[in-house]
Symmetry: C2
Subunit: 280 residues, 2 copies
């Protein structure tokens, strides 16, 4: 009888998920983080950075669709898009589903994430070979400082707020994004769990509200992320997503997002909505 291998992520010091794995596929200590690829029985292949699940075959569609399409459909005509982080390529894949896009820049600090994703997650990373994609292995904070007023949409597809991603949850970074956006530009950032990261969500919402004329919070169900509920924070220099005419949103090939979900996303459970009102 083979031994049973289980991967356990402590999502908080006292709680986590545990998943049976068929085999470990890859391990590397990159210049920035520890990186593992494992094959789980329930969620397929799983990319793990610094011990935390980043993406899995089975539920990656939720995170990548929901990070991308809400902001992209709020913008009237997104041509030039930046993804900060997101080396697995999933957000870029979703960005490229929008025919208006002429250029999609991926700015990922750890080039090894890109290489390993291409090898082990071709369904996620495959779009990185599209000719509209410009891959920059570089620091996202420096990139936005060097590209003022250039982007229509900027998506922040960061790891958790530890290690290389700490600066991506701080106010100066959001100000930098504001400056890197065109006058009607829109940003969306992944902003952790409404169950486990309430202080962070409230702080980021306050920071983005203080910089952008429009700030909105929404959530999605991601079973391999802490608590299974994940939040995204949108900042807009132009259009408010609440004023989007849903009948004008074209159908894309998606598994989670659909046009009729668009406005419902901003109706939040009370314990989540209070995070936008300065409570925690």
């Amino acid at each position: 009888m083979d031994m049973e291998l289980w991967y356990t992520e402590k999502q908080t010091p006292d709680h986590g998920i545990t998943s049976k794995i068929r085999r470990t596929l890859y391990h590397e200590q990159t210049d920035f983080q520890s990186m593992d690829v494992i094959e789980t029985k329930t969620f397929g292949r799983m990319l793990v950075l610094d011990g935390m699940v980043m993406t899995t075959d089975e539920d990656e569609f939720v995170y990548h669709e929901m990070l991308t399409h809400v902001g992209m459909f709020t913008h009237p005509n997104p041509k030039k898009v930046l993804v900060v982080g997101g080396g697995d390529g999933g957000a870029i894949r979703e960005v490229l589903k929008h025919p208006s896009v002429e250029k999609a820049v991926l700015c990922e600090i750890d080039g090894r994430v890109i290489d390993v994703s291409r090898e082990y997650f071709p369904a996620i990373a495959g779009a990185l070979s599209d000719e509209r994609v410009d891959i920059q292995v570089a620091d996202g904070i420096q990139h936005i400082e060097a590209h003022k007023g250039e982007y229509d949409v900027i998506l922040v597809d960061s790891t958790e707020p530890v290690g290389p991603a700490v600066g991506l949850f701080q106010k100066p970074f959001y100000q930098g994004i504001y400056d890197a956006l065109k006058p009607d530009g829109i940003m969306v950032a992944q902003t952790e769990s409404p169950w486990f990261n309430r202080d962070l969500i409230a702080q980021v919402y306050q920071d983005i509200s203080s910089i952008f004329p429009v700030a909105r919070l929404y959530t999605a169900s991601i079973p391999t992320y802490p608590s299974g509920l994940w939040s995204f924070t949108l900042g807009s220099k132009g259009k408010d997503p609440l004023s989007v005419d849903v009948s004008e949103i074209p159908e894309l090939e998606t598994k989670y997002f659909q046009p009729e979900l668009f406005h419902a996303l901003f109706k939040l459970p009370r314990f989540v909505e209070v995070l936008t009102q300065g409570e925690k």
Copy 2:
């Protein structure tokens, strides 16, 4: 140094949650199931039946509010309400927040769940002492057969579809509920995870659609339940929840439900909506 105790629930054969516990508080093998009360660091006290989390101090509000208020606010004037299962009393607590309610019947097959909940979960079970509550320690299927045309709202607060609750997920039970409801009656059942129980949800939705003129599916985020996303299926002999005027819903003291969430609940992610269309 004390040993570390962790409770692990395999929510599928190959995936689950694990939670550090301060101590075990109670264990009993009842006539129907194994019952444990443990104190976790992240979610407070946790009631575990047959090894599966039923409720916790920290996230119980979601399940109990969302099982209860959607159906209760769809009904124009719910006076007599039945909860099948739900021995912890949480659904009854929410039912009693509606001033129209004259009688709330709890029909729980395992009286020990009621006793232990009263002792270890007073904030959840306390409402069971309200004078409007009629506690029946009995089989839910037999109860509904003996009470035809009596109820305005019936809530099915069952355990998972194994052991004593198997019959509560089958079509004859839903037909029995239909018969136990008054002409404008409404039922809501907890119907498991859209990630892990797709066949079951599709089957239950089809069964309820074939019996009730109106069937609706909605979801809520419950971190200690499998996948973190939970589904509820509503059947109505009268009003369609989609036709409820939200401006007429009074504010209750709730932490998850709020009136402006009401219609948004029925806008489903595409991978969930297909379950209502015969796909899986």
